[in-house]
Symmetry: C2
């Protein structure tokens, strides 16, 4: 159970959430991170693992997931088997990331860890590697480091990072203090943020040393710190299940931003690296469509078996053929047609954020629903 000593770095990948806004592609038993949305042959989770290869071997990868998905995660990422940690139940991101950090700390001593969501899409590996490299340098100085994405539109779908003064750290020329982490703003506030040029999108990427992270937790969330430390000490013993069963259900359910990032930023202990790479959380079919290549001169996007799709007088659509069925679409712009073996969704890109509502309605109204 050794990690790549040269890097002294571990990746943490929280792999949870079902992504109901991508229903019926994503399901509770086939969440977004397990899907190959871009036809590359690799799921979003696998792509996340692949992306971290420059920062250590597979032994340096820790994936935190639920009991319902662990088999699929093991199948997709067999090389990371040692680092797959199973949460007995979802208790939000602080518990998930804190669990991995505590286990890594217990196994390997103080280690810089970087947490990256399992279901985000990133393009531009040179820039990504540069940003992670800078973040690791700054984390070694004791900072809670995040990688912020330059905001290019007044999005209300993302949290924001308010950038402060530059930090002067060797090997991290883009590092700045974080003045504050801001929750998802309303439209007017988002426009104001954008106008100042002082805000980055919060992509949920956190890099810090395990001892720093656990130190913040000990100060800010002592009960959570105590619980996670106790669990980590039992993790590689035969007492693991017993301790987990006793302690896990009592842990605070709190996002990592609220638990440590915001208070640490307020104390001046957080830093942000500028991430000049393509990033998206693929939050819904509209953002998925934006990431896919067009298949014709009309901005249409397709997923799955394109040979099964026929369109006429259609522009800006996203059509997914995931069954052997022929799909014919005529005369509707910006339509979303997601066909699977047992469920079909028809909506518009403008309604993409509301897909979770119709997925919930399906679960309510259909006996034995495909959820």
């Amino acid at each position: 159970m050794s990690i790549d000593a040269a890097s002294n770095f571990c990746t943490i990948i929280p792999a949870g959430g079902s992504g109901t806004r991508l229903w019926p592609l994503s399901r509770s038993d086939r969440p977004k991170f397990l899907l190959d949305l871009f036809g590359t042959g690799r799921s979003l989770l696998q792509s996340t693992v692949d992306r971290m290869a420059p920062f250590g071997t597979a032994e340096n990868i820790y994936i935190v997931t639920g009991a319902g998905h662990v088999d699929a995660v093991r199948e997709q990422c067999p090389e990371a088997a040692q680092g797959i940690l199973v949460e007995p139940s979802p208790r939000d991101s602080m518990a998930a990331i804190g669990l991995a950090a505590a286990v890594i700390h217990h196994r390997h001593g103080p280690t810089v860890v970087g947490s990256f969501a399992a279901d985000h899409v990133i393009s531009g590996s040179v820039e990504f590697n540069r940003a992670v490299g800078e973040a690791i340098e700054v984390a070694r100085q004791g900072y809670l480091v995040t990688i912020g994405i330059p905001a290019t539109r007044p999005s209300t779908a993302f949290g924001y990072i308010q950038v402060g003064d530059p930090l002067d750290i060797a090997g991290a020329p883009t590092a700045h203090h974080v003045t504050a982490f801001q929750e998802k703003p309303d439209s007017l506030t988002a426009s104001r943020y954008l106008a100042t040029g002082k805000y980055r999108w919060n992509a949920g990427m956190f890099v810090m040393a395990t001892d720093v992270l656990l130190g913040h937790l000990a100060e800010l969330r002592p009960q959570l710190h105590q619980g996670l430390t106790t669990i980590a000490q039992a993790w590689d013993t035969d007492r693991k299940d017993e301790v987990l069963a006793e302690i896990w259900p009592t842990l605070d359910k709190v996002p990592v931003d609220v638990a440590i990032a915001e208070p640490v930023a307020a104390q001046g202990g957080a830093a942000v690296i500028s991430g000049g790479f393509g990033w998206d959380d693929v939050g819904d079919f509209n953002s998925l469509a934006a990431l896919l290549p067009t298949v014709d001169g009309f901005g249409n996007k397709q997923i799955g078996d394109e040979n099964q799709i026929v369109t006429k007088k259609v522009a800006g659509s996203i059509i997914s053929a995931n069954s052997s069925r022929t799909i014919a679409v005529l005369g509707i712009d910006d339509v979303v047609v997601i066909d699977t073996d047992d469920a079909l969704l028809v909506t518009t890109r403008a309604r993409a954020q509301e897909v979770r509502n119709i997925a919930a309605k399906v679960a309510d109204e259909i006996p034995d629903p495909p959820v």
Copy 2:
């Protein structure tokens, strides 16, 4: 091979055409007339047969269909087996109706026949029976009789009948001369027709005596008359196939309107009965939608298994669930979603007339297409 002598009337049902505007519900091997579009348990063809029950027994029913559909027709209408006539190839409505009339004439002598399409929808049996009764009375006086539907909107999808002076025939109070049959008009012409109150929609219902029909054919289309008479004489003999194979391919391909209705009207020999019943040719999904009951307060229409359909923020839609799949539609008004086991159509009611174009495109582009 006797017909109901009391009525001395036979029904002719031309059952051809695939109805590509209802693709993928209708297919070349499952044309519109074989479909149960209204969930009544009876296809349009079966409903047409049922509707004619007041005018004679099953032996009085003649169905003219193609070789590709004869098995399905026999299965749906076993009681009409004696009267199922198979066309070797489609040669338009005059050949189809003329064949049945010639066979009936040869089998039973002069008989009043009424031709009714296999794939139209009619509501209001009292009015329908009244109109057919009147038409039979007028046909007995030697007229070519049609039943015209009062035009209620300036439709460009139907042909029109121009109504002339009243006829004074006992038992037929609504009978009028036909001044002319008009082809499908443009929108302006249709509005002019509607404004005069002198036009009826041509529902393709023709009632006349076989000797009158054959007499008109002998005068107007002597080659067609000769061919059909020769075929009819051979029909119930072992020379049938040989004679059909020789003569059928040589017959004029011409609609009944053009072959006899229009010229006979010009000679003053055509009459129209006012048909005050609901009638539609279910030409596309928009007209089908108009005929279906709404399932909610938003004008949504459904076909098939309604328990599989979930909608939210949808009005004026028509959704057809013909597979076991769940169908969820969110936030699109007037959408048409037709789901079958092997093909899915998504379009709008406004594009309903163009569905045949996308069906043709599917046939062109998909290997082994579901057509």
